[in-house]
Symmetry: C2
């Protein structure tokens, strides 16, 4: 039989050794009431001698606070989420908070399970990249029951919670704008574009042109497409539907295939805009296998900046997201909220920057 738990030392024993009541010892060790200098010393001495460590479970049970933040990421394995997580973890640690991690794989069921687990474990708050901007009753419920939520990367429609996002639309508009300015007219976009309940690409584009879409609760790749359309509109260019490649899945292979398809057309685009890091990877893979020369035969700008992009033959111009800052901001919003902020929901939008490198030239 396994040895039970070898004499965990509790506050009672510290109190006994110091010759005071557990209440007094608690006050000294927990730092929450009055205590004389002399007793303080005595208690601390015996705590040290016994190697006392407070049981955070017991504390949490009574205070209702666990000093733990629950995080629901899409997939920590991706550089995007792992950097955000890093930001969250750093800020949390500095304030003595723990981070309980789960992955949703962008699946609603998974997210639901994850939130449930975190809630059961009594986390003080939830930092979530929501899978679905509409069906998020579980988040609403959690919020209503007093568990603060901070969303990142995207926002649930009408959820009254804090959020950190980036200005995808603007960055995309500017990136495409710079391609147009360089003289490009046939600019392709390779984007994930999953989950759009209200129709297909064509109708989305029409509705953007008509100005009848509220962009804030769109998924990032759609916001980036939004910016793509806007840039075309601003320049008075028509959009060739054939140049909008909807990958439909977050997969390198799918991206590669779509890129191949796009670049093998007779009437090939002169420039390619990839809507995130994975799409860029898939595209680069396709481009090298086709033997296309960048930027002579094809100009390129990608969303997300990954280390390898800067040391590729011609380095790839990229929209860089402030990933760790996003995580840090999310954590900070959460900690503020936990510190008693009763302010209305705040929405922080971080700015993006364009790292101009060698992948753009005149067509």
């Amino acid at each position: 039989m396994a040895a039970k738990r070898p004499d965990k030392v509790t506050i009672t024993e510290v109190a006994r050794l110091a010759g005071v009541s557990t209440a007094t010892a608690g006050r000294v060790l927990g730092g929450y009431g009055y205590s004389s200098e002399e007793i303080k010393k005595r208690v601390q001495a015996s705590a040290k001698r016994l190697g006392y460590r407070p049981n955070l479970l017991a504390r949490g049970l009574i205070t209702g606070k666990t000093k733990t933040i629950g995080v629901v990421a899409g997939d920590i394995q991706s550089p995007f989420y792992s950097s955000i997580l890093r930001g969250i973890a750093d800020v949390s640690r500095a304030e003595g908070f723990g981070v309980l991690l789960t992955n949703s794989d962008e699946l609603l069921v998974r997210e639901l399970e994850a939130v449930q687990l975190l809630l059961d474990k009594q986390v003080d708050g939830l930092i979530v990249a929501p899978c679905d901007t509409e069906r998020s009753d579980h988040l609403r419920r959690a919020l209503k029951e007093g568990c603060p939520i901070v969303q990142f990367d995207r926002m649930v429609k009408g959820l009254g919670a804090d959020a950190v996002t980036v200005d995808n639309r603007k960055a995309s508009r500017e990136a495409i704008g710079s391609l147009i300015e360089a003289g490009h007219r046939r600019i392709a976009i390779l984007a994930e574009l999953e989950r759009w309940d209200s129709g297909d690409i064509a109708s989305f584009i029409m509705r953007v042109e008509a100005g009848s879409i509220e962009p804030t609760t769109l998924f990032p790749s759609w916001q980036r497409l939004f910016g793509y359309v806007e840039a075309h509109l601003a320049a008075g260019l028509k959009i060739d539907r054939a140049l909008v490649a909807r990958v439909g899945a977050y997969s390198l292979d799918a991206a590669r295939l779509q890129a191949l398809h796009l670049l093998r057309e007779a009437d090939r685009p002169t420039a390619l805009f990839t809507a995130d890091g994975l799409m860029t990877a898939g595209a680069v893979d396709a481009i090298t296998s086709l033997g296309l020369r960048i930027p002579d035969e094809l100009s390129m700008i990608g969303f997300d900046d990954l280390d390898w992009m800067s040391f590729l033959k011609p380095a790839i111009t990229a929209v860089v997201q402030p990933v760790t800052a996003m995580g840090e901001t999310a954590a900070r919003l959460m900690l503020d909220r936990l510190a008693g902020g009763d302010s209305p929901p705040r929405h922080v939008t971080l700015e993006l920057s364009l790292a101009r490198r060698g992948s753009v030239a005149k067509p």
Copy 2:
């Protein structure tokens, strides 16, 4: 003032509604004692009606089990750790365990803090990539106090705990072997090689040649150097000390600088072996900026396989580590141990494979 906690429903209320004692309700809901079919139904019905969720803190306080695993990674932002974490998280989730995450940044103080935090939060076990293979009393203490530990990537000397590692030495030996076989005689190695208390590179090499080093508790980059030396010994080649580049820090920039230094020498090596992903990135950066052609002017093999390596102009031959499998194995070892395994410490060594691509040619 913030609303307190809006009527959390406890087992007492479920019991009352079902007309039974809390003990009985507990048995049904916790599934740990006898209960008749009829009562089972009644309790479950009222639990469902009230939306009851057990408070895992309270449960943990009494059972001493939190169903939470603490993880101390070096830096989740790195692809290595994030993949491992993914593996850990997947297996843990499947068994209903939560994952509490911390980073050590490979700093002993940080690791100490992290372990302390996790222990205070009463995690059931610790999965750690130890910073220091010698001074790890905190781990020994935790172990002695009944908190199981699984190490990964490296092992603490004489710590009687489970571990998952890969066969760095063998993989490195074989990689270098294949370069030698291709005809290379001047093979450089670019490696982190921090933390070696017993002297410098020269003395390490001498001691390897003398057979007086126990490799299992070395840090991975040293094990890889070990294999490098062995391959040379086996082929009867002398080692040119100038070809062993010790970066001394885990930094892309430092790696790039060392690589530049190495490749600008008059008597340039004909092949380069990089001891991990970051070193490879630094080297590739240096190589492109020098305009060296791979594999004509320089052959190359790198440890760690990152997505971009496969779609670089000539794809880079790489030793691929089974990263997620490593995480999964670590988690599985932990869960076994928690399930009551009293077996002696197990050490799982995973095999590595060489992904042969286009970066190796005759000199």
